[in-house]
C-alpha cells in the first residue's frame, strides 16, 4: 500500500469518526437528567459514543475500501496475495484495544465510585415491592404511601425489599437501578439492598419495574414526585395527619 493510500484511509476514518460522533451526540439519548448521578453517567455514555464511532469507522472504512478496491473482475480466477500475517500489526491490534478498554474500565470505576459516594445527610426510605405494587415508608416520619415524594437535592437512602419475587427499581431520569430481592427479616443475607440517589430536578416521574415479575409486570409503575423541601414537608404533614385520622379512631389514647 502506498503512503498516499494509507493517508487517504486515515483521513476517511478521521472524517467519518468526526461526522458520526457529531451526529450521534446531537440526540439526548437518555432523556432528561434528574439526579446528581445522571450527569456523570451521561458523560461516560458520550465518551463511549465517540470511541464507538471511531471503532465503527475503522471497520466500515476498511471494509468499504476492500469492497471497492479488491472486488474481483468477472471471470477473474486468480488468487489474492499470499500474506499469512504481520507480527507488528497483530501485536498492535492486540495492545491498542487492551489499552483502550483498560482506560474505559478505569474511567468507569471512577464514575462508579463517584455516583456511589455517600452524603453526610441522607433521607432513609423503605421501598417495598410486591406483585404488582410499590409501597414507600418514611421510617423517621412514620408515613407510608404508594407514591414516592422526595425533596430535591437531598440524597435518599432507599432500602429495597421485595415481598414475593424479584422486582427492580428504576426511574429512568435518575439513571440508577437496583433489583429488590426477597429478604426475610432475621435471615442472614449479604444482599446489597441499599441504593443512594440524589434527585436534583423537580417534577413528576415514573418509577418502572424492570425485572420480570409476573402478569402485571408491564404496568407495575408508581408516581415519583420530586419537590422543594417545603412542599415535601407539607406533604409529609398531610400524610401524617391523614394516617393519624385513619388509625386514630381505633387507637385513641394509645
Amino acid at each position: 500500500m502506498s503512503p498516499g493510500t494509507l493517508l487517504r484511509l486515515f483521513g476517511a476514518i478521521f472524517v467519518l469518526t468526526v461526522v458520526s460522533s457529531f451526529l450521534m451526540l446531537i440526540p439526548n439519548w437518555n432523556g432528561m437528567a434528574g439526579s446528581a448521578e445522571a450527569d456523570d453517567i451521561d458523560t461516560l455514555l458520550d465518551v463511549m459514543i465517540v470511541l464507538s464511532c471511531f471503532v465503527f469507522s475503522v471497520v466500515v472504512v476498511m471494509l468499504g475500501y476492500c469492497l471497492i478496491r479488491f472486488r474481483a473482475k468477472p471471470g477473474d480466477e486468480s488468487d489474492g496475495k499470499p500474506v499469512h500475517g504481520n507480527t507488528k500489526l497483530e501485536v498492535a491490534w492486540t495492545v491498542i484495544p487492551t489499552i483502550i478498554v483498560l482506560f474505559g474500565a478505569a474511567y468507569s470505576w471512577i464514575v462508579l465510585d463517584d455516583i456511589e459516594t455517600e452524603a453526610a445527610d441522607q433521607l432513609p426510605i423503605a421501598v417495598t415491592a410486591q406483585q404488582f405494587k410499590w409501597t414507600f415508608e418514611y421510617t423517621d416520619e412514620g408515613v407510608t404511601a404508594d407514591e414516592l415524594h422526595v425533596p430535591v437535592d437531598q440524597q435518599l437512602e432507599l432500602n429495597l425489599v421485595a415481598l414475593d419475587v424479584l422486582h427492580s427499581f428504576w426511574v429512568p431520569e435518575w439513571r440508577l437501578k437496583r433489583d429488590l430481592v426477597p429478604i426475610l427479616e432475621g435471615n442472614p443475607t449479604d444482599v446489597d439492598n441499599v441504593m443512594r440517589v440524589t434527585p436534583n430536578e423537580e417534577g413528576t416521574f415514573q418509577l418502572v419495574c424492570t425485572e420480570l415479575c409476573g402478569l402485571g409486570h408491564a404496568t407495575m409503575r408508581a408516581e415519583v414526585v420530586v419537590e422543594s423541601e417545603e412542599e415535601f414537608q407539607q406533604w409529609i404533614s398531610e400524610q401524617q395527619a391523614e394516617q393519624e385520622q385513619a388509625t386514630g379512631g381505633s387507637e385513641a389514647g394509645a
Binding site: 492486540t94 487492551t98 429512568p172
Partner: protein
C-alpha cells in the same frame, strides 16, 4: 408381535413414547395410592402425575427408536449385533426419520429439525411484535405474552442456535479433518434425537394448566419456583437439550483430538475445527451448570426443596450465579462456531489465507478462558455483593480484545484479496462483520458498571442481544448453510433468491433492532406486554420491520426446498476451496473417503504456488511430479500416509 413394534423405528418409538408415559403415570399413581396420598396432586407447582411421564415418555421414545439397543445388549452381556452399515447413509427421505449413525445424515437431521424450531421461535416473535405494535393490549393477554417471549428465547437459544451449529459441524467437521465419521456415532445419533424431545416438551407446555412457561428464558427464582406447571416443562426440556449438547461436545473433542488425518497437526486445522474445539471445551464444562440450576428449580417446585426460596432459608441470588455461570459462556457457545464459519467463507471467497491464523486460533482459546470469568456482569444491579462488580467489569471489557483481533484479522484477510461477492454466503459474512461490530460495541458499553446500571433490563439489552445473536450468530448460520449447501445436497441454490434473502434480512434486522437501542435508553423496560404511550411510534416501526424480517426467511425456505430438488448440479468444489470436504464428491460418499487423505500443508494456502492442503488417495501420482516440490517437501513432517 408385529414387526413394526419389534424392530427399532418410528412406529416402535411412538409406541415406546406411549408406554413410557403410561409407566411414569402408573408409577406415580401407584406410589401415591400406597402412601395414602391424594392420587392427583394439582397444586400450581406440583402435578407429579404429569412431570414424571414428561420424563419417562421421551425415554420410551428414544428406546423405541433404537437409540439404546446396542448398549442394552452390551450391558446385558448379550451378543451385540455387528454393525452391517445399514444405519449409514440415506437413500430416501424416510432414512432421516430413523436412528442413523452417519454423521452426514445426522448433520442434515440437526439442520432441518433446528430450522423448524427457528420458524416456531420466529412465529412467537411475530406474535410478540404484533402485540407490541401499539400500546395497550390488543392481540394477546399479558400471561400469554410472557409465555410467548419466554418460548421464543428458549427455542432460539436451546433448540436453534446452539444445536444448528452442532449440526453444521457434524456434517462438515469429520470431512474437514479427514475422518470417516465422528468418534462415537451411536452417541451422536442419540444426541440428535434428544432435541426433538426437548422441542416437544417446550411446545407441550402451551397445553398444560397455566399455559406455557412465562418466567423468561432466564427463569429467575423465585418467579420460576412458584410459576404454574409449564415451568416444569422448561426445566425438563433444558435437560434434554443440555444432555444433547454435552454429548455432542464430548464427541467433537474426541473426534478432533484423535481422528485427524495423518499430517493434520493442530496448526494445520481449519479455523472451523479450532472454533468447534473451543466451543466444545465451553459446553462440557459450562452446560452442567444450567442443568443443575434447572434441576434445583424443579426440585424446589416438585419436591419441596428450598434452594432458592428465601422464606424457607434458601438463597435467591445463587440461582443467578449458577445460571449465568453457564449462560454467559453460552453466549460464546453461540458465537465461536460462527467465527469458524466466517473464517472459512471469507478466506475462500477472498482467495486469501486467513491473516494471522495462529493468533486467530489463540484468540478463540483466549475467549474460552475469559468467558468463564465474566458471568456476574449480568448481575450488576441484582444486589449481589458489590465488590465483585469491578473485577467482572475488567474481565468483561478485556474479552473485547480477542474478539477485536478476530474482526481486524478478517478485515486484513480482505486486504489485497480477489474479493468475490456474488455468493450469498459471502454477503452474509460481510454483513456479519458490520452487524456484529455494532453488537460488540453495545456490549462494551453494557460491560461498564455505571452504564449498565442505567441500561440493564431495558430494550437496549434486547437490541444488544439481537445484534449479537441475530446479526452475529444467525448471519453466520446462514453464511454456513449457503456455503455448504452444494456440498450437502450436490446442487446449487439460486443466488438471486439468496441475495434477496440477504438484503431483506439485513434491512429487516437493522430496522427492527436499531430503534430498540433508542427506546431502551429513553426508559422502556424489556419483557413488557404494554408500555408508556411515548414509545408507541418507534414500536410500530420496529414491528413493521420485524415482519419484513420474518417474511424474508420464507425466501430461504423456498430457495432451499426448490434447489434441493431441482437445482443445477454443483460439482465437487464450486467455490474452489482448499479444505478437505471440498476434495470429495458432492454429496460425499457414504464412508467419506476410500482412503484417508494425507494433510501436507495449511488449510488456506491461496495464492501460494504449488501449495496444497491435502492429498487424496487418487492423487498419489501427482505428489511425485517435480512440478510440485512444495508438496513433496512437506510430506516428511506429515507423519506419512497409507501407501
Amino acid at each position: 408381535m408385529p414387526a413394526a413394534l419389534k424392530n427399532p423405528g418410528m412406529t416402535r418409538a411412538l409406541f415406546g413414547f406411549l408406554v413410557g408415559g403410561a409407566l411414569g403415570f402408573g408409577l406415580v399413581v401407584a406410589l401415591r395410592a400406597i402412601s395414602g396420598l391424594e392420587i392427583f396432586q394439582t397444586e400450581q407447582t406440583g402435578y407429579p402425575h404429569v412431570i414424571v411421564p414428561a420424563l419417562t415418555a421421551p425415554f420410551g421414545f428414544l428406546i423405541g427408536l433404537g437409540c439404546f439397543s446396542y448398549w442394552f445388549r452390551w450391558a446385558a452381556g448379550a451378543p451385540t449385533v455387528p454393525d452391517d452399515h445399514s444405519q449409514h447413509g440415506a437413500h430416501s427421505w424416510k432414512d432421516y426419520f430413523r436412528f442413523n449413525t452417519d454423521h452426514k445424515v445426522i448433520g442434515i437431521q440437526y439442520i432441518c429439525t433446528t430450522f423448524v424450531f427457528f420458524l416456531i421461535g420466529g412465529l412467537a416473535a411475530m406474535a410478540v411484535r404484533a402485540e407490541l405494535a401499539q400500546p395497550g393490549t390488543q392481540v394477546v393477554d399479558p400471561g400469554f405474552f410472557n409465555g410467548l417471549f419466554s418460548t421464543h428465547a428458549a427455542f432460539m437459544i436451546f433448540l436453534f442456535i446452539i444445536p444448528i451449529f452442532a449440526g453444521i459441524a457434524n456434517y462438515v467437521l469429520p470431512l474437514m479433518i479427514g475422518a470417516p465419521d465422528m468418534a462415537f456415532p451411536r452417541l451422536n445419533a442419540l444426541s440428535f434425537w434428544m432435541l426433538p424431545m426437548a422441542g416437544l416438551l417446550f411446545l407441550a407446555s402451551y397445553f398444560v394448566p397455566g399455559g406455557a412457561f412465562d418466567a423468561g428464558w432466564t427463569g429467575y427464582a423465585p418467579l420460576s419456583t412458584g410459576a404454574p406447571l409449564g415451568q416444569s416443562f422448561f426445566n425438563l426440556g433444558v435437560q434434554f437439550a443440555g444432555a444433547s449438547s454435552v454429548a455432542t461436545a464430548l464427541n467433537f473433542l474426541v473426534t478432533i483430538i484423535t481422528m485427524r488425518a495423518p499430517g493434520m497437526t493442530f496448526w494445520r486445522m481449519p479455523l472451523l475445527v479450532w472454533a468447534n474445539l473451543s466451543t466444545s471445551l465451553l459446553v462440557v464444562a459450562a452446560t452442567p451448570f444450567i442443568a443443575g440450576a434447572q434441576f434445583m428449580v424443579l426440585f424446589d417446585r416438585a419436591l419441596n426443596t428450598n434452594f432458592f426460596q428465601e422464606a424457607m432459608g434458601g438463597d435467591v441470588l445463587s440461582y443467578q450465579h449458577i445460571f449465568w455461570f453457564y449462560s454467559h459462556p453460552a453466549v460464546y457457545i453461540m458465537m465461536l462456531p460462527g467465527f469458524g464459519i466466517i473464517s472459512e467463507v471469507l478466506s475462500t471467497h477472498a482467495r486469501k489465507p486467513i491473516f494471522g491464523y495462529r493468533l486467530m486460533a489463540l484468540a478463540l482459546i483466549g475467549i474460552v478462558v475469559l468467558s468463564y470469568t465474566v458471568w456476574a456482569h449480568h448481575m450488576f444491579v441484582s444486589g449481589m455483593f458489590s465488590w465483585l462488580r469491578v473485577p467482572m467489569m475488567i474481565t468483561t471489557l478485556l474479552i473485547a480484545v480477542p474478539t477485536g483481533i478476530k474482526i481486524f484479522s478478517w478485515l486484513a484477510t480482505l486486504f489485497d484479496s480477489v474479493l468475490h461477492v456474488k455468493s450469498t454466503a459471502m454477503l452474509f459474512s460481510l454483513g456479519f462483520i458490520v452487524t456484529f461490530v455494532v453488537g460488540g460495541i453495545s456490549g462494551v458499553m453494557l460491560g461498564m458498571v455505571p452504564l449498565d446500571i442505567h441500561m440493564s433490563d431495558t430494550y437496549f439489552i434486547v437490541a444488544h442481544i439481537h445484534f449479537v445473536l441475530f446479526g452475529g450468530s444467525v448471519f453466520t448460520i446462514f453464511a454456513g448453510l449457503y456455503h455448504w449447501f452444494p456440498k450437502m445436497t450436490g446442487r446449487m441454490y439460486d443466488e438471486r433468491l439468496g441475495r434477496a434473502h440477504f438484503w431483506l434480512t439485513l434491512i429487516g434486522m437493522l430496522g427492527t433492532f436499531v430503534p430498540m437501542h433508542w427506546v431502551g435508553l429513553e426508559g422502556m423496560p424489556r419483557r413488557v406486554a404494554d408500555y408508556a404511550a411515548q414509545f408507541g411510534d418507534w414500536n410500530l416501526v420496529i414491528s413493521i420491520f420485524s415482519f419484513v424480517l420474518g417474511a424474508a426467511q420464507l425466501i430461504f425456505v423456498y430457495n432451499v426446498i426448490v434447489s434441493w430438488k431441482w437445482g443445477p448440479k454443483a460439482g465437487d468444489n464450486p467455490w474452489r476451496a482448499k479444505t478437505i470436504e471440498w476434495l470429495v464428491s458432492s454429496p460425499p460418499p457414504v464412508f467419506n473417503f476410500d482412503q484417508i487423505p494425507r494433510v501436507v500443508g495449511g488449510p488456506y494456502e491461496f495464492g501460494v504456488p504449488g501449495a496444497r492442503h491435502a492429498i487424496m488417495a487418487g492423487d498419489e501420482g501427482a505428489e511425485v511430479k517435480p512440478a510440485e516440490p512444495a508438496v513433496a517437501g512437506t510430506t516428511s513432517g506429515g507423519g506419512g500416509g497409507p501407501p
